[in-house]
Amino acid sequence: MSSKNTNNFGGKAMITRAIKDSFLKLDPKVQVKNPVMFLVYISSILTSVLYVFALFGYKDAAPGFILGTAIILWFTVLFANFAEAIAEGRGKAQADALRASKKDVEAHKIESIATKEMSIAVPSTSLKKGDLVIVHAGEQIPADGEVIDGAASVDESAITGESAPVIRESGGDRSAVTGGTTVISDWIVIEVTSEAGESFLDKMIAMVEGASRKKTPNEIALEILLIALTVIFILVTASLYSYSDFSAKQAGIDNPISITSLVALLVCLAPTTIGALLSAIGIAGMSRLNQANVLAMSGRAIEAAGDVDILMLDKTGTITLGNRQAYAFIPVDGATEEEVADAAQLSSLADETPEGRSIVVLAKEKFGIRGRNLSELHMEFIPFTAKTRMSGVDFNGIEIRKGAAEAVKEYVLQNGAKYSKQCEEAVKAISNQGGTPLVVAKNYKILGVIHLKDIIKQGVKEKFADLRKMGIKTIMITGDNPLTAAAIAAEAGVDDFLAEATPEGKLEMIRDFQAKGHLVAMTGDGTNDAPALAQADVAVAMNTGTQAAKEAGNMVDLDSSPTKLIDIVRIGKQLLMTRGSLTTFSIANDLAKYFAIIPALFMGLYPGLSKLNIMGLHSAESAIFSAVIYNALIIVALIPLALKGVKYREVSATKLLTRNLWIYGVGGIITPFIAIKIIDVFITAIGFIR
């Protein structure tokens, strides 16, 4: 994670800003978007009006009681606004930082690559799709585009937060550049792929700021439930007025309940806790994703991540360390292991590839063979080429070669030596174990085989086991042959693998899984990944990837880390769990509120109902106040949970449900009984209530 993204939630400036926003959000146009809180908003206005009436003689209830209720209700609304504002705060801060990098710069437009020396300076905002621009070292890239000529190192820290520059070059999968990043060395010619205002940076700002945040289907469904409950509670309180009127008439007394107390009851019963926190939960989920340096193109994608039950993971970088490493030297045809090691080390001294280095390291570890003075031996190194598929060294008439079995076989046979059966078997054995064999020959005589092995990352096996407990299957995607793939798959503990993977193969596999009712997540970077990315339910494109891949995916991973998928799934699940848990908590709370308010309202009518006052609240007024105050304070109390998300564990659905039901269901029933009692004792003690 970058330093830029580690803003402190509790930062003073951010809180000040959130408090200011809480008041700005009192605008009815904002309020009406959240139906449950809109009800509280209306109730606040209603009680305020009743208070004014009371001052002029029309008394619904004691003016002090009405005023107290009105004030608490206004605070309830403000607390809900604050929850949303504080959740938005982080995104806003991030958006500000991004905006700072989105300056209007001068772009050097050119006609064609051939005439790249003749550029015209134009403002970056005037660039159109398809325009060509040249960017030199030290200049900012004016718009999103594809590199079509040249290569340069680019500082993308403005977007990724990663300070190490990356290489961008024409052709291949590293050709996409983002407007707002800076070229550090060399030059590149870019074909512009987005118009001003629609660039990646613009989208990113909109997303982190929450401006383009639409309610997700799941949020809408939940809101329907909340609205329905609210409607029921409106009917409950309205009918209670008439029931009370009826009962009072039967007893020959006046209707004992005031509108104020009914409004208080309504606000307490309505699912205000979840209503107030719902949007904060959604924004915070998005924010957590941004913190993980992943940019989701829609909130829906995060929810889909929670549902994913198939993860298609690239082998390299996710399951295995990026490169193969030398694991063993296997001598053949009478050579010793040390001879093999010695020759292998010599041939690898100048080999700067990770494989080559690992051979040197292994030789040193096993036999203490140290680096030698290269110039003294007059060594001439033969680099690896695609044609020879071998590398090696010539010195003092000695010729050492190492390479793929087929290549070395051809090389020795051509030079009149033999390729033994023993060697062939050693090669085969290594392949069967999922390794890569490199055959080593000295003066056309085969000494042995180097066993290069994929090194499984530490902890992945446990990770996959955890995922399996949650019902998520992992599929390893690799270009290796099926034999190698199977061996690695078994070692890493993935559920299945796709060997010799082609883009078409991936696409087909995703379609197969989806047809069986699974939801599939994958990562990809190349242009040829685009169709599979477009098909997958959750598609994470690497930021280093091509423009096509980025457009096909519904998330972009700015770190381009292949393990990110697992984090994304966790964030998705956590978001949904938080939503469900707080809904449960909110509804479960109502029981205690009934026990506080109903006896308070009707003790006069039916004295026997005072037995329902099981909390032993001080008086009718204090009971109603305590319930309403609890109702307001619980919103504030739960803001940290809404922002952080409920605790998440990789266990089965049943275990998760049991756990959350205990905490938020049973806890939701018990907590308000205790809290309302405490508030009652407190407000009575300080004399807020007679």
């Binding site: 009917l235 009918s239 929670g306 019902g471 009712g517 699940k573 029981l591 039916y606 109902l609």
Partner: protein, 578 residues
């Protein structure tokens, strides 16, 4: 101890009979071959030919819903005219007048909605023709409508990426022909053998064995015994969770329910089909455990309700026990609260019936719920207020419960970190909208209806009692309408224009809003693909889910009705023990 055995016996018989019937109905729903096919298949095909029904047609949910509504609208019009014009129709030996417009509206609404709320007394207000051609016909078809809508919903869960939810006419024909008629014949014969009347003769006047002297000194020596084709109507009234009695006193009347055996038959018939449909559901969604889970949730709630009623009725009230007025703990005679209960049934049988009839939205009674202890009476009321989902009406009880199951998976599904799904189908905003309508139509109907009624100044005239119990009578009436139950707190006089119309509207709303919503859910689910099951999927067939489902049903019920009940039975209870 003996009483506990009795309660257990009733419950066991119910389960033993429901399981095979469930799989039988499953076959009927799918059009599979059953043992009656040989006889009934020709009849079935004959009906299709006569009515020009295309056997191959698979209806989109909207068409299915239109057919359902149109069918009910026609049934309503027909029944309304019949009731108003019965004076001019045959089989009216007592020359009973036509019903008033509002009573006819109420009765027609009541019978097409499978409620069978009766603002009249059958022996005084209806001709034999109205009873048979009007009410009994609706007893069959309104029950069948509930079942076919359930079938459509089940298809919604079963079918994958299709459009149709079944054929309304075929479902109706099969349900009536293969399920309701055969069962009715069995029950009719059973109860007729016990002495339930089945006759077209005029009422008979008989001489009393023991003349009765009234308070004013006059002596009554004769009694009119009402007759009629009762047995056949009573069988379907019980089986189809209709509940509308042939006589005003319903199954407390000796000619509707003469013996312990007839009582057993009638009582088991109340819950038989609703309970069996749970197994039909499990069988046809190809996961029997799902059906058992839903059944268990309903069964547990029934047992709880039954226990509370039983304990309270056996314990009676301090007032009854005062100075030894009633020997509550009598060993050899019926002790406890026997007010309003038939001596030949006693507390266990009356209490069980009360629980069964309000759990199912049946509404027939063999004792007067008005006379129950406050808490005993509250439980009968609450069972209706829960939305009639503790078995509930035939078909509609289960689809109501599935609505609650959808709410439950929604909340629980989120808590396991997935967007909710039920039986492999994703629950999205549209399903949610419809599910809340299914679950909340009953509370809405009850709260609005009783809320308005409580404000009407003349309402007190309809009440038999004042104070908290008077309020309970009012609340019970609307709960009965909102739950499409049809039973009443006996003292309530409902035959006034306001009550007839308002209760009629509540019945219609509480019946058809959830029905259309259910079909909409079916239509939406049928087009969805099925999500694969993994350990990450919320299981909906284990004890945890059953507990959660019960909790959600009780919670919604409690949240909706706690204040109302506090002013009625709960207040009365505290008065009683004060």
């Amino acid at each position: 101890m003996q009483a506990i055995l009795q309660y257990g016996f009733y419950l066991i018989i119910l389960v033993v009979l429901a399981i095979p019937l469930g799989s039988y109905m499953g076959k009927v729903m799918n059009g599979e071959k059953v043992f009656l096919s040989k006889i009934l298949l020709p009849c079935e095909n004959f009906i299709y030919r006569m009515l020009k029904i295309d056997k191959k047609e698979d209806m989109h949910w909207k068409k299915y819903a239109m057919c359902t509504l149109a069918f009910n609208a026609i049934g309503f019009a027909f029944l309304y005219l019949l009731l108003v014009l019965q004076r001019f129709l045959p089989l009216n030996p007592e020359n009973i007048e036509g019903n008033s417009w509002h009573l006819a509206f109420n009765t027609a609404s009541s019978f097409i909605t499978n409620t069978n709320w009766q603002a009249y007394s059958g022996e005084n207000a209806l001709s034999y023709f109205s009873q048979m051609m009007g009410l009994t016909v609706q007893n069959f078809v309104s029950a069948a409508v509930g079942i076919v809508v359930l079938f459509a919903l089940i298809r919604g869960f079963v079918r994958v990426e299709e459009k149709g939810v079944g054929n309304f006419f075929i479902d109706m024909t099969r349900t009536i022909l293969y399920v309701l008629i055969p069962l009715s014949i069995v029950v009719t014969l059973g109860i007729a053998s016990q002495g339930v009347v089945q006759s077209f003769k005029p009422y008979e006047t008989v001489t009393l064995v023991e003349p009765i002297e009234l308070e004013d000194g006059s002596v009554v020596t004769e009694q009119v015994v009402p007759l009629g084709p009762a047995a056949s109507q009573i069988a379907i009234k019980q089986l189809g969770t209709n509940g509308g009695g042939f006589m005003g006193a319903n199954s407390a009347h000796p000619l509707e329910n003469p013996t312990p055996f007839s009582n057993l038959l009638e009582m088991i018939s109340i819950l038989l089909i609703p309970a069996a449909l749970c197994f039909t559901f499990g069988r046809n969604v190809k996961d029997k455990k799902q059906g058992i889970a839903i059944f268990s949730a309903m069964f547990i709630m029934l047992v709880i309700a039954l226990s509370v009623i039983a304990v309270n009725e056996h314990a009676a009230t301090p007032q009854l026990a005062q100075e030894g007025a009633v020997n509550i703990l009598a060993e050899n005679q019926a002790g406890g609260n026997m007010e309003g209960k038939e001596a030949r049934f006693g507390i266990a049988t009356s209490g069980t019936w009360a629980a069964f009839t309000t759990a199912a939205s049946n509404g027939s009674v063999n004792s007067m719920h008005d006379s129950y202890t406050p808490i005993g009476g509250m439980v009968t009321m609450l069972l209706m207020q829960l939305g009639e989902v503790v078995f509930g009406g035939v078909g509609c009880g289960l689809y109501g419960m599935l609505g609650f199951a959808i709410l439950t998976v929604f909340i629980a599904g989120l808590m396991v970190g997935r967007t909710p799904e039920y039986l492999g189908k994703k629950i999205e905003p549209f399903e949610m909208k419809m599910a809340v309508l299914v679950c909340l139509a009953t509370p809405i109907g009850i709260l609005v209806g009783s809320g308005i009624a409580a404000l009407i100044p003349t309402i007190a005239d309809s009440l038999n009692n004042s104070g908290a119990h008077g309020f309970s009578e009012l609340l019970y009436a609307y709960s009965s309408a909102g739950g499409n139950n049809g039973s009443a707190f006996a003292g309530f006089n409902a035959n006034t224009p306001f009550l007839n119309v308002s209760i009629g509207i509540v019945m219609l709303f509480a019946r058809f809003a959830p029905m259309v919503a259910t079909l909409a859910i079916a239509g939406s689910l049928v087009g969805k693909k099925k999500v694969a099951v993994s350990v990450g999927t919320l299981p909906t067939h284990n004890a945890l889910f059953v507990a959660l489902l019960i909790f959600i049903v009780l919670l919604i019920g409690a949240l909706s009705f706690f204040p109302a009940l506090a002013l009625g039975p709960i207040a009365e209870y505290f008065q009683m023990i004060a």
